[in-house]
Symmetry: C2
Subunit: 311 residues, 2 copies
Amino acid sequence: MKALVERVRSQDQRALARAISFVENDHPDKLSMLSDFAKTGHRAHYIGITGSPGAGKSSLVDRIITAVRQAGKTIAVIAVDPTSPFSGGALLGDRFRMHKHFSDPDVFIRSMATRGSLGGLARSTKDAVRVCNAYGFDYVLVETVGVGQSELDIMKVADTTAVVLTPNSGDVLQIFKAGIMEIADLFVINKADLPGVQKLKTQLSEFMHIVHHEHWVPPILETISTENKGIDELLHKVEQHHRFLQQTEAGRNKQTRQLTFEIYDIIREQIWLDVKKFIEADDEKQNTLKAGKNPYTIAKEWLRDWKRERG
Amino acid sequence: MKALVERVRSQDQRALARAISFVENDHPDKLSMLSDFAKTGHRAHYIGITGSPGAGKSSLVDRIITAVRQAGKTIAVIAVDPTSPFSGGALLGDRFRMHKHFSDPDVFIRSMATRGSLGGLARSTKDAVRVCNAYGFDYVLVETVGVGQSELDIMKVADTTAVVLTPNSGDVLQIFKAGIMEIADLFVINKADLPGVQKLKTQLSEFMHIVHHEHWVPPILETISTENKGIDELLHKVEQHHRFLQQTEAGRNKQTRQLTFEIYDIIREQIWLDVKKFIEADDEKQNTLKAGKNPYTIAKEWLRDWKRERG
């Protein structure tokens, strides 16, 4: 496992893919591996891209990859689809994109999808981001397909979250309702050659008044990804937000809050893995289970046993 | 709290609504309250209704309520909307339905929506179902708006899960991809007066061959909820599935698996609430947090401290 960590650190893409698979499949050594990776510190800039399906996120991300590469920087993209149970680069669109940047060792694209539970997906996505960070990418970009609660959970990992909308799509209310408004650092109006841009801007500003933005007011950008328009300005704003995070107290507080979430996640998972292992190793516990028994009584007993044994 | 539990048991609907709010808002006494409620045992039949938006689930549920009442039975409905952050019966449709059955003390309808995290929503929904069970309803029905991973998590509480589809909607593939196929006990083709019913049935049968159904092959029913057609047959199949669960070994095994999930849920939450309280009570812990620190190292330290203190 140490060897794999070292291979990722020395920028071996096959090792990177393998390490992410370990994370996805809950490999027994996952936590110690992630702990090793965490020694690198948070060096990459984590960008989150979210927005309704059909907003053109994929082509926007494609343009971002190209622009980042032209600037001589490296980038990893994690594309997350919470509605799909297939995983491991199996999404058609990503295969295509992967192919396009295939020969470029400074671009890495990986799809992640649901296995088991949503909580599990959010967890593996965040872990995959951290593995990519250890590899040494300048940017790690997480792209999600929709705007729902699962996206909200996943976006907690991002330093800078960009929400993509299109004119006349009625996205704004949905985004507001889903709680995405609160986590947006940038708004991107894609397909900005369509009519309705001004109306959308007005709507966004109105909703922004409801949501509290004390230290960083999210800029509203316009892009036309099919024509490669507005991408440089977008990356410029991403950099500006990066500086805000690094150089202001409000930005550092945001980072500390994220660190707290991360620690909570790790603790929750470590304890749970331990308790589950303890319970499942004990056949007697399994045999006492019968429909109709009071789950709270059993939970109390098992928890007491675990604490006695492992405490 | 004991008084509230007793009032729910003696079928006081205001107490029921209050107890569900306690569950939603993570009241400090929540776990002890749920433990008290669990003493009732699992008496109600839990029905899950899921399917794509637009499949006519709401009107179907409305017809089910009426049919159940005509049979002299009582029913609680928990309507879950994972995309909406509003809660407490605030959804327009439910207000309407609530109004319709308002004067009937043997019907209870409650909307639940996202607060905080999806995991939280699934948890509160399951808890609300159990509170309704303790009240003494014959049926507790959980209705979700979409077909995604969140619905899958929520449906784990149901004894009988009905998946609602409409002809020519292309739902089948999405339902298969979302993993809903595996948990379906009944398929309901609603709006069965539309063309395409036969094709949908064929598709469903084909997909069912892929998914393993050993002891209970999900029947495919047809309903036209606007004309109140097929509802009796639906309830008949629900009863048949209920008997399968009670009277066969495969059915009892399913119930035991659900009990295990429930116990795991409770343990996970109990430990986490305790750890979180422990961490947040310690100002020193909060003060050591600074961006860039290794979260795994901190997690390890805090976990060690907690075990030492509470183990």
